[in-house]
Point group: D2
Chain length 143, copies 4
């Protein structure tokens, strides 16, 4: 079975705040980067989806900050699709310190698949290959 | 009883994305702005708290996006402290379209009060006036 | 003669960096806010221009940082159109500390007026009222 | 002679605006990333410099946008130190489309080397090894 390479990135100075840590709002940008990277790895780069007319609007986002991350550190972000029914999709993330694999944050984003005009799309019928690909990467939480 | 003026702000072009709406990560910046505005209105401007040695680290943040917000629109953000025990604080937000009061998003941030060195502080003992002020603004959810 | 109210805004925590000052990239967002505010004051709100099919693409931007600005401070941003020929426009900015009017930064942005498809537009011919309005606000530098 | 690997990065969805291109303010973040990458390659990672007490405050920044960059494209950023006298440093950048090497933007940032307390430092005397390293990478413009 294919595996996904976790997304790895450095932290940037412009992401810090005066408390000397990465500002909380940046984690949602990181989730997007990690999600984009995931989509690319599974053969569905997001800009191609948009060209096809598939938009994955964010309907909620959550992050829990466990250990502050500082400038100069690198993070590794794992992600998996934990829910997917053809209309809605949930992606979960773990942000690890790349140096010691310490869990620094967890997060969740929920998405609704829609057309450019923000109408719901029936992925299974209209884009079966995309539907099947996403479905094959579904990894429900066992607990 | 004193009341709090909701925080009102315009949306900025640089906050839009190519879907033509405000990008999801900005809502967490808006929550921070609204929270800061609230703290100032209740006489505890956040930069003063930091000078006193009180830091309100964000330990989790959540946003649910109900109606997209576009450039040119104005938003009104209401907020209230729904939990506070002297160590941790929960703030809840509602983002309304200023033109028609339509609810566009809701959100929650949780905070831990700590020292500059990220040690827990006992607000009630060390800063009783701050403790009492925050406590007086506690508005638990009734439901 | 009508005058323009300078744009005033607070600084935000999320705009700081770990040096304890506002990060340099934010000034370009402030310039955009100030420019947008100016356009609104002169009766040409930018989102209306876009609806009419007029886009003011940024072709260069410059900022000189003279005095660091910190969280908790407020800034006042003055701006004026120093060049305008119907195709291109130059806007200059001054960022002052609102507390003491101390000059903290100066900046310049240059813009090209174009259609949605990024084609040049002849403002004077196609949108004479916009052209005349912008022209009336031209304030060339005397030095 | 050692060479520097240009900095390569993808563009992010959150960097786009509703014009469908990367928003102009992001280029200054990219310059910072490229500069940081450069410093790391020459053995002077910026977070180490800060630990040593050397801060490179940005005193001006400039960007000229030649060709819009869109989401899904990758950019390559070259940079070189064009001026350095032990106190001040100028870095110049070129942003190329990674697919076809087309020049999309050029930029310049100027920096002042200072202590944490924002006092000037005499790099040559106080940190000769940093001074010599930066000097060895000076590439004045010949034209």
């Amino acid at each position: 079975m294919e595996t996904i390479t976790p997304y790895r990135r450095k932290t940037h100075y412009y992401e810090t705040d005066q408390m000397g840590i990465i500002h909380n709002s940046n984690y949602f940008k990181w989730f997007e980067e990690a999600r984009t990277d995931f989509m690319e790895q599974i053969g569905l780069p997001y800009h191609k989806l948009e060209e096809m007319g598939i938009f994955a609007a964010v309907i909620s986002s959550y992050c829990e900050y466990k250990v502050p991350i500082t400038y100069g550190e690198e993070v590794v972000i794992t992600k998996r699709i934990t829910e997917f029914n053809g209309y809605k999709m949930t992606v979960e993330y773990e942000v690890l310190n790349a140096a010691d694999n310490r869990l620094c944050a967890i997060g969740t984003t929920r998405h609704c698949l829609m057309s450019r005009e923000r109408k719901p799309i029936r992925l299974q019928k209209e884009f079966p290959e995309v539907y099947n690909s996403l479905l094959s990467w579904l990894r429900p939480k066992s607990d």
